[in-house]
Amino acid sequence: MIIPGIIASRFTPQGDFESIATVSVGAGGSSSISFNSIPSTYQHLQLRWIGRTNRAGNASDTVTIALNSDSGANYSYHNLYGDGSAAGAGAGANTTIMYVGWVAGATALSNTFGVGVLDILDYANTNKYKTVRSLTGRENNGSGIVSIESNSWRSTSAVTSLTITSQFGGTYQQHSQFALYGIRG
């Protein structure tokens, strides 16, 4: 069947990388950002963000994520980072939240945000714990950091929600944005 060009152009093939939901922080700010009722129909999830909080007295803040509202000591993390002076690595076991990346804090340059790209593979698989990888950084024209972050959630439950907060209790500022994507398998 021949589809006229005007109609055909509306049917852009989507492929296997799809947008699920996006949260853009408004003028009032937000202490947390949530993605709920995440469908189990994809194989992998990707979260992409830009963010800034009002963490007082600091140009940096850390994005923290709880999966399925689990606040128990069921997480662990590792990182590989460069802070402009040295490369380093860190770790933490039995943590109560995931530490997944960077955003800007209150004393960062105006209008400057931290960013990240995070991947959860096999997020809906009920036979394995969830392993989370992210590439993230913030740059502040004289300070900054870039890192690869690793986190684990010790639960075989399918991931159905992400709750995003700040490690230091900061409020995400207007124009922060978190976008969730699904990758079909």
Binding site: G15, Q43, A87, G90, A91, I120, K128, S152, I183
Partner: protein
């Protein structure tokens, strides 16, 4: 107009385990490949290396690695019969039920130049010792990649290990 990001094939390891995970007869119609894998083996260490090869070739591989161990950041290089630092899996020495998280990007896989890979992988563990690898790999061979094989360096991949191959198309 082709879709840009398309699944080519997926492998899930069954109850019997698997020594190898393979993708064969890869079409040349895409521009780049992305391989996403979640791996665990039955070997006793925290992390277990995986041998990545193309077209069943055992020659011409080299790599340059940036890595973190949970306490140390370092770098290394290697050459040999396979890429060893791009497809690690968890071993039984790591936290139970924990699988690695692997991303490999292979640009111009069907072209006539030597083949490159850029990979990021993590082997998580509820302890200090774990692995973060950022790797640059080279297969010094101008043949188009038509098959990819992942082989556990020790032991075999256990049930629920997965690998999915995607094609990325430019218009």
């Amino acid at each position: 107009m082709p879709v840009t990001y398309k699944k080519i094939a997926s492998v899930t390891v069954g109850a019997g385990g698997a020594t190898n995970i393979e993708f064969t007869n890869i079409e040349s119609t895409y521009t780049d490949l992305i391989l996403l894998a979640s791996l665990r083996t039955n070997h006793t260490t925290v992390g277990v290396g995986g041998r990545l090869t193309f077209n069943n070739s055992a020659t011409g591989y080299s790599e340059r690695l940036l890595y973190g161990t949970g306490s140390v950041a370092a770098s290394a290089n290697n050459s040999g019969a396979y890429i060893i630092w791009s497809v690690d899996g968890n071993g039984t020495g790591s936290t139970a039920n924990t699988f690695s998280n692997v991303e490999i990007y292979i640009p111009n896989y069907a072209g006539s130049t030597n083949k490159l890979i850029s990979s990021n992988l993590i082997v998580e563990n509820n302890a200090t010792a774990a692995t973060i690898y950022a790797n640059a790999g080279l297969w010094s061979n101008t043949a188009a990649i038509t098959s990819i094989k992942i082989t556990a360096d020790n032991g075999s991949y256990i049930q629920h290990s997965t690998a999915t191959l995607y094609g990325i198309s430019k218009s």
